[in-house]
Amino acid sequence: MDQINPPVGSLQPRPTISRLPLESAVVRFAGDSGDGIQLIGNRFAIETAQSGNDLATFPDFPAEIRAPVGTTFGVSAFQINFGARLIKTSGDAPDVLVALNPAALKVELPNLKRGGTVIVDTGSFSERNLRKAGYAGNPLADSTLADGRTIEIDISRLTLEAVKPLGLSQHDALRCKNMWVLGLLYWMYGRERQSTIAWLGKRFASDPLVAEANVAALNAGHAYGETSEVAGDITGFSVAPAPLPPGTYRSVTGADALAWGLVVGAHLARLKLFFASYPITPASPVLHLLARQSELGVTTLQAEDEIAAVCAAIGASFAGALGVTSSSGPGMALKSEAISLAVAAELPLVILNTQRAGPSTGLPTKTEQSDLNQALYGRHGEAPLAVLAARSPADCFDVAVEAVRLAVRAMTPVIVLSDGYIGNATQAWQVPAVADLPAFPVRQETNPDGFSPYSRDPETLARPWAVPGTPGLAHRIGGIERDYETGNISYSPENHQRMSDVRAAKIARLAQAIPAQAVALGPDRGRLALVGWGSTFGPINRAVSLALERGDAVSHIHLRHLSPLPANLGELLAGFDRVLVVEGNNGQLRALLRSEYLLDAEGLNKMTGRPFTIDEVERAIRDRL
């Protein structure tokens, strides 16, 4: 353990020295919820992105709103994986852990990479804080940290010193601690400070003293790095730019990307977006973002419950808008009766499910992929619909657009599966130009000649969308079985069979409108295919690419379309000796593939509330080759 004496009066910039080049790095910031961890995490991510790295991040909030200061359950963390290569996950174990208090060390240390570095704020290791964290002794003094490198800095004191000239209260001064840390990390990874300084100025525009204090702390942390580096205590790294396609980028969470995808998708369909939801973790951020888009013509409704939300969305679709609703597992359960109405009424509807760990309330802030069965089968009667899954935060955008396209094409509800992991995680996303995206304008019916609300497009089998207010098309629809020809109520046995068949055929036929399944990585046929859907993309893809680098014969197939399945999927899978389905549930896709293709697919399953690690997937590959 290195006890470092703070360099006194070392705030002048030093000449840049040679840095250790890295292909990628994982850094985790952790501290009390009040320490501003998410703030510096996000800021670090932005600077990292500006420097041309690819990146993925994951914020890890405590389950409690505001846990007592210093407790383990009040620890907030932010992880970033960035590199000179394309980044697929927010990283397994961190290379560097910043622990701003004993509780953070207690919670996060077990996840540190073997031989990784811990930076601790010794100033927070008081008796009281140690006790709150559940430490019997001081981990800095015993063998707790023996494995790896520990950098102990009294960040609290150094922050106080740095901002002292400004005369803030001790409490306010200490709140700058996070900026001190950010400064140090900026130095470690060679990031610029300018834009952060400008940002601080804007953020605290109403309180210039606070802005100045934060800048002072930032600079002090940075300077500390320089000084220590010269002293050999802290290593500086450099991470080259990643081979990203040129363009404008921003960082998006899966929730942001879903929301933007809906806005853009509705626009491409030339429809008004109507979004109704009821708050639920981790789905709410989509509502929050869309509630701010009224200038883009988006209408949002915070409904009284999930049933009202989906029903309002159905009403809006009936009235000619694109009705969208969103929730997480428990709320999805409540929506299922109404989704069945949308199936029967054959109205377009997009339903977002940001999955969390279940059953029941389960672990609301933790991730899981266990709602696939619910999406596929969780309705009474035969009520087929389309199901899509997003693989990463940025992919959420494309999947949302795709959901709108399929919903209006087939006049059908489409369920989009995201999850708590990709919903909250961020990724660099190349911002598209809306005008460049292929539009799919909807033709709503206007012709009264021979109009029947349940006549069908011979290609898509979709019924016409005849919107209230259209002259001459007044008609009535509902959830009671409708006559195949007229749409009027029909109790005829033959008609029910025919309608059941056409509902199934309509969804099956969507397979003609979706791309053939391609292999994401690896050969098209071979010994082993790893099949995934949704957020397992990152770990599978990275694990397979590492295995391929090692020369293993393994491929990665990742499904976006879960209903209907791509037409060529059976054939594709048949080309592999073994198929391993990796999913965060007890084998839901696996059962579907087994039933569909009579294929002896194995499962790699996990339900801990956490995403798969690359390592777990790699081990599974090794076990099978």
Binding site: G52, Q293, T299, G315, A316, P432, P468, G469, I477
Partner: protein, 343 residues
């Protein structure tokens, strides 16, 4: 495409659809349908601009019989669906048809919230104090002691009063009518239509099959005058052909029925109906036979801001939208990756 030129105005039968009406012969629903078609014609509604949304129940079959747009949804959820319709298309004239079970049993929450939000639409609640469609179980409005297949020994629960509930939920237009009293029903429907915000109308509707004559205590011809108090804003609360009226029992907060001419009571002693007074509306809504007449008509009407607000969002320029979306996507921190020499 054929250009359809709508006739300038419509008569009641223009609002009748081509579907055979399938309620039981003698059901009160027929009368409500007729009154609605009449009211629609009289307010100058256009079939193509009118939407009826309903839940499930005998009453909820209503939309099928109107030549307007219609959506027969699922049990209890009509207010939520209708809210979506109205918010998506503020220009449409939206009506809800619901029953005492649909609206107040499974659908109570949505009824509460549509009233609270004051969405600009009309609600017709057909109260027959029974579940008609599912063959006669008691409903939340069934009076205590109602025997039914699910309450063979009579219910032990106090019913909810639809009008009191609507007022408690924040309803700004609350009225009551009787299926067969066409003249008043049509007038009330027109008043509901004129009101901006949610208009709630409880219609006492006779279910001839499962709850015949349950409202006989005040609807029978013989007792009608004595037991029906038709309120009118600004008019004294008189009934029994003007021979009796209501006053505030002196020194209390209770309504009292008094006879003009008895004990020195004159018409001047009778309370004047003020449809903007919620306390009065609540007291009127609570009156019950046999000791008191049933208050009918517009018990409460006090408009306030409603949803959707003036179409502030109407101002979207479709041509400018792509650029606006682009701008929104670029808001916040963005960065640029330059195309590299070596690629």
């Amino acid at each position: 495409m054929t250009a359809v030129t709508p006739p300038v105005s419509f008569v009641p039968k223009d609002f009748a659809s081509d579907q055979e009406v399938r309620w039981c012969p003698g059901c009160g629903d027929y009368a409500i349908l007729k009154a609605t078609q009449k009211a629609l014609a009289e307010v100058g509604a256009t079939p193509d601009k009118t939407v009826f949304v309903s839940g499930i129940g005998c009453s909820s079959r209503f939309p099928y019989y109107l030549a307007t747009y219609g959506f027969h949804t699922i049990h209890g959820r009509a207010p939520a669906v209708a809210t979506g319709v109205k918010l998506a298309r503020p220009d449409l004239d939206v009506w809800i048809a619901t029953g005492d079970g649909d609206g107040l049993s499974i659908g109570g929450n949505h009824l509460l919230h549509v009233l609270r939000r004051n969405v600009d639409l009309q609600i017709l609640l057909f109260n027959n104090e029974i579940y008609g469609l599912t063959k006669g179980q008691y409903s939340p409005t069934s009076h205590r002691g109602t025997r039914s297949p699910s309450s063979p020994h009579g219910t032990q629960e106090e019913p909810v009063s639809p009008a009191q509930f609507a007022l408690g939920a924040g309803g700004r237009f609350v009225a009551r009518a009787i299926d067969t009293q066409q003249k008043q029903l049509v007038e009330i429907l027109k008043a509901a239509h004129a009101h901006r915000g949610t208009s709630f109308i409880e219609v006492f509707q006779n279910c001839v099959v499962y709850n015949d004559n349950v409202f006989a205590t005040f609807t029978e011809r013989a007792v009608a005058a004595e037991m029906q108090l038709w309120v009118a804003h600004g008019k004294p609360l008189l009934f029994a052909n003007g021979t009796r009226g209501l006053r505030l029992k002196p020194g209390t907060l209770m309504l009292e029925a008094v006879t003009i001419g008895e004990e020195g009571i004159t018409e001047a002693d009778i309370l004047i109906h003020d449809q903007t007074s919620k306390p009065l509306a609540l007291m009127l809504a609570a009156l019950q036979p046999p000791t008191m007449p049933v208050a009918l008509g517009v018990l409460y009407c006090s408009p306030t801001a409603c949803l959707p607000l003036a179409p502030a969002q109407g101002a979207i320029d479709p041509a400018a939208l792509p650029q606006q979306i682009d701008a929104a996507l670029h808001r916040g921190d963005t960065w640029t990756i330059e195309s590299r020499a070596d690629s």
